[in-house]
Symmetry: C2
Subunit: 127 residues, 2 copies
C-alpha cells in the first residue's frame, strides 16, 4: 500500500491501495471531526504505534488525501486535516461504517463508541 500503480483493473483495488490496511480509514474517520495534532491522533487511535502513525499519515499526505501543516516551533507542532480528496471520501466511509454497524447488530458483535457520526466534537467547534 501507499504505492500507486500506473493502472488498475478495478478501481476498488486502487481504493484499497490508497486507504486499505489497518489504520488509514480509521485515521481519516477521525480527521472528519476536524484538525488534529500528531499527539492527539496518537492518543485517540488506541493501539497505534508512533511509527505506524507517521507512516500512514505520510502515505495519506503523499496521496493528496490529507494535509500536513508544520509549525516551525519548539517543541514541534504538526497538524493534520482532510484534503479535498479526503473529504470526498467520507461519504463512502460513512456508508461502509453504517453497513458494518448494522452487520454488527445482526451478528451480536460489540462496539464501544465512535463511528456514530459524532465523537466528542472539539476542533469543529474550535476548542
Amino acid at each position: 500500500m501507499g504505492i500507486v500503480k500506473p493502472a488498475y483493473p478495478c478501481m476498488l483495488t486502487l481504493a484499497m491501495d490508497l486507504v486499505g490496511g489497518k489504520w488509514k480509514m480509521v485515521i481519516l474517520w477521525q480527521l472528519r471531526n476536524g484538525i488534529f495534532r500528531f499527539s492527539e491522533l496518537k492518543r485517540v487511535l488506541i493501539g497505534i504505534t508512533q511509527k505506524m502513525l507517521t507512516q500512514q499519515l505520510r502515505e495519506l499526505e503523499d496521496a493528496g488525501i490529507i494535509i500536513r501543516t508544520v509549525y516551525p516551533v519548539v517543541p514541534p507542532k504538526v497538524e493534520y486535516s482532510l484534503a479535498e480528496e479526503g473529504k470526498k471520501l467520507i461519504p463512502a466511509l460513512d456508508a461502509l461504517c453504517q453497513w458494518s454497524t448494522n452487520y454488527a447488530a445482526s451478528y451480536g458483535i460489540a462496539q464501544s463508541t465512535c463511528c456514530s457520526a459524532q465523537q466528542e466534537e472539539r476542533s469543529l467547534t474550535g476548542v
Copy 2:
C-alpha cells in the same frame, strides 16, 4: 482477516476484517452482476489463484456475505451469489469505487474497464 473479533473500537475496522484484503471487495463487486460459478470467477478475476479464490469465498460465506450453492453433480458445479448482507454492502462499494474513479481521473491513473456499474451483464439477463 476472516476472523471476526468479539468487539470493535471502530466499525470501520470490522468492515476491514470482513471485506478487507486484496480480493474480497473485487469478488463482491463482480458478484453484484449476478450468479457466478467458481471457474467463471477465476477467469474474470485476473491474477487470482485457485487457493486465494476458494479461501476468500469461504470467508465471505462464513461471514454471511455471500451464498455458496453446491450442485451434487460430476464434474462439480458450485455457484456463488450475494447474500443479503452482501447486497447491502454494494452501495458502499459503489461509493468507494466512484471516489477512486474520480481520484484516478484527477491523478492520471489508468483503469481498464470494470467498475462502471455494468460489466457485460450476463447472469442478470440469464444467459
